[in-house]
Symmetry: C2
Subunit: 408 residues, 2 copies
């Protein structure tokens, strides 16, 4: 299927507007800190949230509001996580009520997210003042998506948006997204937030199913530092305004949508991995030949998470022993004596380990490959039929600086 990249992020799909404003949660007046995503019509909607037992009030609220499978607007603030404070649900309720009134839609169709410092009461006044400003600024121009993408950033170094279109049944169907990565805020908590809009017409059930499927293969295969935030959120809203027929069974139209959604999720997951705190490289670990899908995933994530592998990649050091070590302690089943391992980048590919034993290789060629900024670690762990890919980044001095600095 032909998937074409396009501009406009979350407002590329028909029916969506977005905005970002500075409401005052951040001291720096030039930094946007509140975003809104709005659909002209009520949307089928689904979400995937943190598995952390400690979760933010907005996560609790969104889970409930998505139980009926519909939503129409999302409000997102940066600067405060609204987690572990006594009045978290009260403040979340106030955000919802305000947006509902300002937008003239039911409270149940409003979703909210917060990212930032944990355990500090959320300043609600700036948010209640900011919501009407957001409504005024709502725009279906690319600037609307851009402002929203900027307003949700924390220590991200780049705003992250993406949009694509594909054709099905003679209609253009569009999917767009914005996200923020595992950055700390001033510096308190890593949070991954991602919002996807589409004008596909799809039932809430299938939207939920497709989102779960794509999240498992993309966002859930990203690890920046192994910490799982209290606020992680991925939400998709489908306006149905593409004009294409409604997808309410797992037919060809569903398969096409799934492929396109996977494309968007994959792109955004890689954005997040590559912009991990202090990251200088995107690291990809591809496992093949595993005995089960679960084993493949565990192995790939174990390599990506290993601080020693991450430091080696930072140093462009072909330290394959650390890769084997990470496979070995992952807990997954595989045959140690069957492991073959290579490093790959735009500069070429080099095999470093064959059947569990190091193969002599040219360190200079390896270095040439590893100094690039996208590195793939390929590991064949046997003759099994399963494979998986995980994404992460290297571990640099900058990560320690960002996260070790005194709060101020």
């Amino acid at each position: 299927m032909k998937i074409t990249e396009m501009n406009g992020g979350i407002v590329a799909p028909s029916g969506f507007k977005a905005a970002g404003v500075h409401c005052g949660l951040r001291k720096n007046r030039s930094r946007l800190d509140l975003a809104m995503i709005y659909s002209d019509v009520r949307c089928a909607a689904a979400g995937v949230f943190t598995t952390n037992k400690v979760f933010a009030a907005p996560v609790g609220v969104d889970r409930e509001h998505l139980s009926d499978g519909y939503a129409q607007a999302i409000i997102i603030n940066s600067g405060n996580a609204n987690t572990c404070s006594e009045d978290g649900y009260e403040k979340a309720g106030a955000m919802i009520a305000c947006a509902s009134e300002v937008l003239g839609i039911p409270e149940k169709d409003v979703l909210i997210s917060s990212t930032g410092v944990i355990g500090v009461p959320l300043p609600i006044k700036p948010i209640l003042e900011g919501i009407p400003m957001l409504k005024e600024k709502l725009s279906s121009e690319p600037s609307g998506s851009e402002d929203a993408a900027v307003a949700i950033m924390t220590t991200d170094t780049k705003k992250k948006e993406y949009a694509i279109k594909y054709q099905f049944g003679g209609k253009d169907i569009k999917i767009g997204g914005i996200c923020k990565g595992s950055g700390m805020i001033q510096p308190n908590m890593a949070t991954m937030l991602a919002y996807i809009t589409t004008d596909a017409s799809i039932s809430p059930e299938l939207l939920r199913k497709s989102l779960k499927h794509c999240a498992d293969l993309t966002f859930n295969m990203v690890s920046v530092d192994g910490d799982t935030s209290t606020n992680d959120t991925l939400i998709v809203m489908a306006s149905g305004l593409s004009g294409a027929a409604v997808i309410n069974e797992e037919n060809e139209a569903y398969e096409a949508f799934l492929e396109a959604l996977l494309n968007v999720c994959m792109k955004m997951a890689k954005y997040i991995a590559a912009d991990g705190e202090g990251a200088t490289k995107l690291i990809e670990c591809k496992i093949t030949g595993a005995k089960t899908e679960q084993d493949a995933k565990i192995l790939a994530k174990s390599v990506i998470r290993s601080p020693l592998v991450k430091c080696a990649m930072f140093g462009a050091d072909a330290n394959w022993g650390r890769v084997l070590c990470a496979l070995g302690y992952s807990g997954a089943d595989f045959d140690v004596d069957a492991v073959c391992c290579s490093f790959r980048s735009t500069a070429g590919e080099i095999e470093v380990c064959r059947n569990g034993v190091g193969c002599g290789f040219d360190e200079d060629i390896a270095k040439e490959i590893l100094i690039r900024n996208i590195i793939t670690i390929d590991c064949k762990v046997g003759d099994g039929a399963y494979e998986a890919t995980a994404w992460g980044c290297d571990l640099s001095y900058e990560y320690v600086r960002i996260n070790g600095d005194y709060r101020s």
Copy 2:
């Protein structure tokens, strides 16, 4: 029971000699790289080894040699891990055969360990030349233990030895140990090695049981970077030369031995945590009120492993939200709304979170507490009866430098 610290490390207990030499595995001629621990008599012996599926040839050999519960000598080289190379077992066999001949003891009573670069064939000639030199240098003076402790060091910044004595049945019983921490070697693999000697007289079965018990509470609760090496080894040898009665049931004498052994293991585990690569602080996380022992252990280790907590400790930042976050994603069962959390050091103690919610605290006082070099994080996670403590260190620029540097 009164436990008294004493000098002499592994040669403090009666019957033991040790030595360290430079045999040539390291280029720097002033660095010792081969150690021997020898007992005048055959010892009850037990070991605990890495759980990594990828393990070194010496680990495989030691597991077999300890199956009968006895040993008399240990040879340890630094500079090469003898892991993931085709002739690993052949070279391990050559080390064993040489030591057996030089010392005049059965091969099965010789144990070996290797630590260093992975996947590079072990240079065997320097080791075979070094073993007779070690025999010549064997000494029951403290210098023997010191040399052995130095010879097993990799990126450790300090040699690690410790010895204690306690009285039972009118006899002095001594336990000594040397260990090395999770350092990388030039820089390829983290490995924890620890060797304990005692002149207690104890059956191999109870020695094994006591070692497992103590390892679970100490070495297995240490995490420097979450990576589990291919070579991790903990061995204890009991000469029985104290003159005290043999311990062959779980009586008072066993309980006394267990307490003393735990003391030694705890001290050495803390040495290793405090000297983690790039560490500036020892971090201790004590969990109380857990529903099961397993939950307590998982929670404590999750906090100690969290890169975000480790960076916060490096920066003396009272970032308790990261502690809650690490508890939350640990997978252990606990009541989020019951969590109370404090930071403690020689400068005092400060409560930062009560019943899952931040309690206002004085950041200056918190900083005063956290700038010290031993920090305890206390977390009460409910009303359960179980507790556990884990040890680790902070995450500093130096960790990244050590592990990101090009090999050379």
